[in-house]
Amino acid sequence: MISSILAIDPMLDKGLLWTPLIIVLVKVVLVFVVGLVATMLMVWFERKVIAGMQNRVGPNKAGPWGLLQTLADGIKLFFKEDLLPERSDKFVFKLAPYMVLVPAFLTFAIIPLGGDFRDGKGGLVTLFGHQTRLQLADPPIGVLFALAISSIAIYGIMLAGWSSGSKYPLLGSVRASAQMVSYEASLGLSLGAVLLVSGTLSTAGIVDAQSSIGRWNLVATGFVPFFIFLVSATAELNRPPFDLVEAEQELVGGFNTEYSSIRFALFYLAEFMNTITMSALIVTLFFGGPQPISVGSVTLDIPLIPNAIEGTVWLILKVLVFLYMYVWFRATLPRFRYDQLMDLGWKIMIPASLGWFMLLAAQRVGREAGWDQIVVTLVTALVLIAGYALLQLAVHVSRANREKNGASF
């Protein structure tokens, strides 16, 4: 009976292959649990580090060093009253938290979480006689999947603000969508530089190409795309200094003002989950992911641990650097003003990433055609400077025109 049903698909004709199925199921559960536990620890980490920076103690009551604080907060939120505002759109209001949470987990699926990338093994490990990667999925579109998911994540925030049926959440969500759409452009363009250098979309392939510090995409793409990606990612995450979405002084609490109880907890969870995923993505794209740090042919090897697990250790260490940096941003940087945010996004980030992409592309074409690299770089730089001057002129003229018409901005 079962075999006749399975025979619909020729792939399953000869009975199910149980081992790969079980491996995939275990991976799904593992990635989900790791994501949740990492988020829990991230909330604790952020509170503790900020407390340290502000000369406070921070959470220290629940569990050793306050480690279980997040769990306690979660349980508390579960038992709080679940309010449904009278003027809200009931269905969308209930749906929105899940539309934020699901994309947060989905991006985690394409990040290589470990594996042995040394000696041309390409990150493959053998589990129960099956060659597999320590990552949930390796779709042919690779990092484009992350871009697609990050553009989907906007809906949750947008609809949460709209469905609340209240002014401030709506303002927060309109701000959020404008900000996220603007910075997505520079995020994608700086990603283009990475794809140009590594020549593949697959995340495992991108990691595989970065075998030593000199070949890390950070160096290979010439630093600028990394900084653009970092700033755009911070804006995309709505984290300080770009947290205009929840600017308490202006918007009460932002898009999630009307949310309470477990629905609020889901937004909170998704926000921290996104921070971890984005840090892991930065590490994957620019810092060699699970590859050990090596200069030239000298590799820093952690003794006693097999190479496949060592990848995971390196990934965690590298991700922790970025998580600390995000917390540091939050503790030290004041919030951007809204027009400054938009100016930065449209007038600096997008032209800069586009220009740098053109420079890298010109150098590649020049290398293939055998032109002099210095001449190619100089000519491209001149073209870019001329283009930027034109852009500045256009901005200047338009501002002068507006001022003539009596506008004050």
Binding site: I8, V92, L144, S151, I152, M158, S173, V181, N401
Partner: protein, 179 residues
């Protein structure tokens, strides 16, 4: 398996499309549109057009519908409309006749040219892909090498449309006085 996925995706596309037309609230209609676009992305994946599926989600579901929602929210037209009022008399019945006629023509065209459609579908072959990126390589070769002139012309056309829209939408005082 392919049949099951096709039926599910087609159901997604159709229910989304119906939702766009039937839902009285513009925001709900826009959400139905997202469902339709996702269904189409799934159909692309079934046919091994992974890159098109990704672009479908990034551009249409991720940017264009966001823009729709943005405009709906910003203009404050996000209230449910009364569907029983007919703005122009006879509009509904006329719409049914025209819609039925157009779909009849499309179906007739598809049926009569079944063999031609089968012969045309050999532009990008995903099954011979030597690597996961083969799909994108073939697509890039088609767009940026074989048809680069048409591609660039299309982008110029889009640019002209954008600049034209900005010029027309802008009601500057200086334009009126001929300054």
């Amino acid at each position: 398996m392919e049949l099951v996925v096709f039926v599910l995706a087609a159901a997604m596309v159709m229910s989304g499309a119906l939702g766009v037309v039937i839902r009285p609230n513009p925001v709900h209609a826009a959400m139905s549109l997202i469902l339709t676009l996702f269904g189409i992305a799934v159909l692309f994946v079934v046919h091994n057009a992974h890159f098109l599926a990704a672009v479908q989600v990034i551009v249409y579901a991720g940017a264009i519908v966001v823009l729709f929602l943005f405009v709906i929210m910003l203009l404050g037209v996000d209230r449910a409309e009364d569907m029983s009022i007919e703005p122009i008399t006879g509009q509904r019945s006329l719409a049914v006749i025209v819609g039925g006629g157009v779909s009849a023509i499309v179906i007739a065209a598809v049926i009569s040219s079944r063999t031609a459609i089968g012969a045309l579908g050999k532009g990008v072959d995903a099954t011979t892909g030597e690597s996961p990126d083969a799909n994108i390589r073939q697509l890039a070769r088609a767009i940026f090498k074989d048809n680069v002139f048409a591609f660039e012309l299309t982008s110029v056309l889009l640019l002209v449309a954008v600049i034209g829209t900005v010029l027309m939408a802008r009601k500057s005082k200086t334009v009126g006085t001929g300054e």
